[in-house]
């Protein structure tokens, strides 16, 4: 599984236990992380990801032919790096004839057992954050993109803030948990994808969560020469 929605370039191999399967007569954990790498280098996901995939496969002793599915964090995240993970996952899945399951990257960041509401924030650049709110491990709001001040204005009093952008502004940092989770956790991504991975119906194609429209301003409209009168034209 891969996630390139944050500064971390994540590649991991996980074993996902089908329901009811037991190991030595006892139920194993749903998800076991066999190998995982997550270097922090926001600008080099394109270079880093493919070698990391071969490394974690080697480390886990798993060949590409042993894989049963591919999981991708589909963001939200900065467009260029986000695309690296999504395209890589979709391509690997197609090449191996496997299903590719997309998961909201923010969902894999918080620890599920927090007693308070948790707001996850990651860096959206341009002084904005991607964010989502969770209660008892379930997303209750978002994902969305906002300026930190606007996000804080809509929060109640008792949410804690986690995620890689939790220290982006002093106001966010005031609510940041000490020792907070910053990046998507591979085990959580696999756990979140588990149901879709084991479901009978194949999932749809991976779709990145951009949450912003492309920057593009149309140039001044062309004037068809024959139809526009030379003077007194109202456009």
């Amino acid at each position: 599984m891969v996630d390139t929605a944050t500064e971390a370039c994540i590649a991991a191999v996980c074993r996902v236990r089908p329901p009811g399967e037991t190991v030595d007569g006892r139920a194993d954990a749903d998800v076991t992380v066999l190998a995982s790498r997550a270097p922090i280098d926001a600008r080099r996901h394109g270079e880093l990801l493919a070698p990391l995939i071969t490394q974690v496969l080697d480390e886990a002793g798993v060949g590409t032919g042993d894989l049963d599915g591919v999981v991708a964090g589909v963001g939200p995240g900065p467009f260029t790096s986000l695309r690296v993970g999504v395209v890589t996952a979709a391509s690997v899945a197609h090449a191996l004839g496997l299903r590719a399951v997309g998961v909201c990257s923010l969902d894999a960041i918080p620890d599920a057992d927090a007693s308070q509401d948790v707001v996850v924030v990651t860096d959206a650049r341009r002084r904005e954050v991607y964010w989502a709110r969770y209660r008892d491990g379930a997303r209750t709001e978002g994902p969305d993109v906002a300026r930190p001040a606007d996000l804080l204005a809509r929060l109640g009093g008792d949410e804690v803030v986690v995620g890689s952008a939790a220290h982006l502004t002093p106001e966010l940092a005031e609510r940041a948990l000490p020792d907070l989770p910053r990046y998507p956790r591979p085990g959580a991504l696999a756990q979140l994808a588990r149901a879709a991975m084991l479901a009978a119906e194949p999932p749809g194609p991976l779709v990145p969560l951009y949450l912003r429209r492309p920057d593009a301003t149309p140039p001044a409209a062309a004037r068809p020469p024959e139809t526009v009168p030379p003077t007194g034209a109202t456009l």
Binding site: G46, P51, T80, P224
Partner: protein, 346 residues
């Protein structure tokens, strides 16, 4: 047998090609050109997003075509080639990520190639091996270059000349917009020009400066001034004549310099590629001037001149056959890949 899967995403075309032993088995293409039309030019972020949604379906289509034609399956692929540059950064990155993923998943080598060298290599699919060296004239919306190509297997490709401002295709787009013709401007200008007369003497930028460089910005401005003067005078704009005269100016400069490049180096084969190579006047004038100069002209059919995956697979195939060292898996997309090698830097 050697089967190569090629990826091209340097601009607005998602191209995936499959070449086996020098034979084109599949050339699948998805274009986001319609999404850019209202902007009058390619919007990088729109192009990159379109590549993401198109890439796997385009590979599926290519594999289907190769299967129908030759029973080739994805598992038969021996190497993956990809345009590493030059081009739009975000767009390139999608193709590079996909190519690496297929290479890793299929357990085959990766070859990062130069986009312009691939434009030259594609001609081998139609007209067989290229003599060494050749002169290549590559003209499109993104590039206008004259190159000396010794061979395509990794020996340095030498730039002989290039545009100093707009690419030739860009000039077509801008003039089309001036004339109220749709984007991209090449096909509608070619169409209009057929019923027009070459009656306006537009300038030939850098034609007589003794270099092999081009300039199209002055030409574009001259067309704009001419059209504006007509409008101010309250006279109708003869669109067909303007298109024909503009197209003539572009074709004149490009072919004159290409022939001069061949002569200067004593090279007797000229290859023309890139989207503008589809222009009927450029093809006709190049043919006429090459014949007069004793130069053999090679132009792939229009569908192979524009950006596509076949050209990348064609170059990848030549490189595999020549034993070129594969690219490392940390190959990066390089928007400004310099024109020195046909193999992308590692």
């Amino acid at each position: 047998m050697t089967t190569v899967l090629g990826f091209e995403t340097s601009c607005d075309e998602t191209g995936v090609g499959i070449v086996r032993d020098g034979e084109l088995l599949a050339d699948a293409l998805a274009s986001s050109v319609d999404e850019h039309a209202r902007f009058g030019g390619v919007v990088p972020e729109v192009a990159a997003r379109a590549h993401v949604s198109s890439i796997v379906p385009t590979v599926e289509r290519a594999v289907e075509l190769a299967g129908e034609r030759a029973g080739v399956r994805l598992a038969d692929v021996d190497a993956v080639a990809v345009t590493a540059g030059p081009g739009l950064a975000g767009a390139l990155l999608v193709g590079v990520a996909a190519a690496k993923a297929y290479a890793v998943a299929l357990g085959v080598p990766l070859l990062g190639v130069h986009h312009l060298a691939a434009h030259v290599a594609v001609d081998t699919l139609e007209h067989g091996p290229l003599p060494q060296p050749v002169v290549a004239l590559l003209v499109s919306g993104g590039h206008s270059s004259l190159l000396r190509v010794p061979d395509l297997a990794g020996a340095p490709v030498e730039p002989l000349g290039a545009t100093v401002d707009d690419a030739a295709g860009e000039a077509f787009d801008k003039v089309a917009r001036l004339l109220g013709l749709p984007f991209p401007g090449g096909p509608p200008i070619d169409r209009e020009a057929r019923s027009g007369q070459v009656s306006i003497a537009f300038p030939r930028g850098k034609a007589a400066d003794g270099t092999l460089d081009f300039s199209f910005s002055g030409l574009k401005t001259a067309v704009a001034r001419w059209v504006e003067a007509r409008r101010r005078a309250g006279e109708p704009v003869p669109v067909a004549d303007v298109a024909a005269s503009f197209q003539e100016a572009v074709a004149d400069v490009l072919t004159a310099k290409a022939v001069a490049a061949c002569r200067a180096d004593g090279i007797n084969t000229l290859v023309i590629g890139g989207g503008v190579a589809a222009n009927s006047r450029l093809r006709a004038l190049a043919q006429q001037r090459c014949e007069a100069a004793g130069i053999r002209l090679r132009v792939p059919r229009p569908g192979l001149c524009t950006d596509n995956g076949a050209m990348v697979a064609a170059l990848g195939y030549l490189q595999v056959e020549a034993g070129v060292t594969p690219s490392p898996l940390d190959l990066g997309a390089d928007p400004a890949l310099p024109l020195v090698r046909s193999a992308a830097r590692s």
